[in-house]
């Protein structure tokens, strides 16, 4: 496993523009007690660190900072661990440069 470093992803995301579709998360995690290996992989692989463990040890998503790369869909959708949709038109990340 990678050693935990002091990279602050939230500082990186702060540079980005978003139009958050409040109350309509475009990604959902399937309810679970024990996270599957795929869900655990999302904790480190998601470049926006949208996936975190809650105090019950379950994987939760906060998709507000999502950069819509699709990595979690590739890892987590085939097993049904997550449900992935595009944000509604106009919402989500708005790249200034891309």
């Amino acid at each position: 496993m990678a050693t935990e470093t002091a990279v602050r992803v939230e500082d990186k995301l702060f540079q980005n523009r978003y139009l958050v579709d409040a109350g309509r998360a475009h990604i959902k995690v399937r309810p679970h007690n024990e996270p599957t290996p795929a869900l655990k992989a999302l904790l480190t692989a998601c470049p926006a660190r949208c996936y975190e463990l809650n105090d019950k040890g379950q994987v939760e998503i906060t998709a507000d900072g999502c950069v819509e790369c699709g990595t979690c869909r590739i890892i987590g959708e085939p097993s049904g661990d997550i449900e992935w949709n595009y944000p509604r038109g106009g919402y989500g990340v708005l790249f200034k440069f891309g």
Binding site: Q15, N85, V93, F95, F97
Partner: protein, 435 residues
Amino acid sequence: MIDERFDAIVVGAGMAGNAAAYSLATKGLKVLQLERGEYSGSKNVQGAILYADMLEKIIPDFREDAPLERHLIEQRFWMMGESSHTGLHYRSDDFNEEKPNRYTIIRAQFDKWFNKKVQEAGALVVCETTVTELVQDAYGKVIGVKTDRGGGQIHADVVVLAEGVSGLLGTRAGLRKIPKPTDVALAVKEMHFLPQEVIEERFNLKGNEGAVIEAAGTISAGMTGMGFIYTNRECISLGIGCLVSDFQKSGESPYTLLEKFKKHPSVAPLIEGSEVKEYAAHLIPEGGYKAIPQLFGDGWVVVGDAAQLNNAIHREGSNLAMTSGRIAAEAIFQVKSRKEPMTASNLALYKKMLEDSFVMKDLKKYKDMPQLLHVQSQNFFLTYPQLVNKAMQNFVRVDGTPKKEKEKLTMKSFTSARSWAGLFGDAFRLARAWR
């Protein structure tokens, strides 16, 4: 929302979608292009290098008003060690030509320009609209789309899927499978702003000249991956990408790799004092020829990243996207000109034309490369770069050790890290995959 019927609906306004929509509209077809972003470009991410030749085939005079950053006169390949790099630089004044071959671009700006051309060519472009579903008839023929704007179905003779690498619509409709973690790389990128003259000083450039650094080695922590540093006019695009399956296995984080790459002693001075204005991430198709899905069917074709068309060895993604979009448009136009229906058997022409082009020929040439590099990532991305850097240090450091002994040491470091059989085997496999 839109009651009319279209000759073609293009889903997506990236390189492939814009090329397809533009080519279809200039041929007089009635085209609707749907884009989920605020404008074309606002969801699109690339390094980015634009190859002039492929765009010239679509918009010959693009240099007149396209937002281009720098034309490239220098290419550097860096093989990275922990605190060193061994480089191969190619710089030529020949690239300071009237019509340069390669440019850096900023996608959000470039795509906006490209999409304006699409609109001027007569296509109806509707942004901020996500296509949620492909509409199929009882026989599975694609006959239109549904969007999140409501208003039911929009119909067309053919739907061009330029929906990007993850390809949600096509995979959901069962037209192709979702890409495997072994077939896509996740790249993260930052935009580092610096005064123009600082960039030119640090990279030894004048005027609009540009340089590119592509780096592989210890920076990817044993995973199959690559870093890149591209000079734009007033900023530097810096990023790193590795296979999703490798991230999955290693538990490494993309942002941790990015920070380490930025702090590498060969990289840090280039971006010192910069202001970062954006952090982006994107998937890149890396599976090559063998990962290309079904490209056409009744009422549909798929182009660009959604068709996994990317030459990972030569870092050509957007030009394959543009070319596949243009070729798809030509095929559709030919079928339409013959007044024939957009059936799978007629649209097979798209695949045939693609096979006759450099797109498929190049991908076929390297069909065994992904497998080789992905399976042997430890050797190609960690062990060999370390060894080469060690050998270079041995070669250049003068410390009184007789040269013959130094050479012996270098050879020994190679054979102890990887057996003779392993070394020759890798060289042979690499040569064969390159053929």
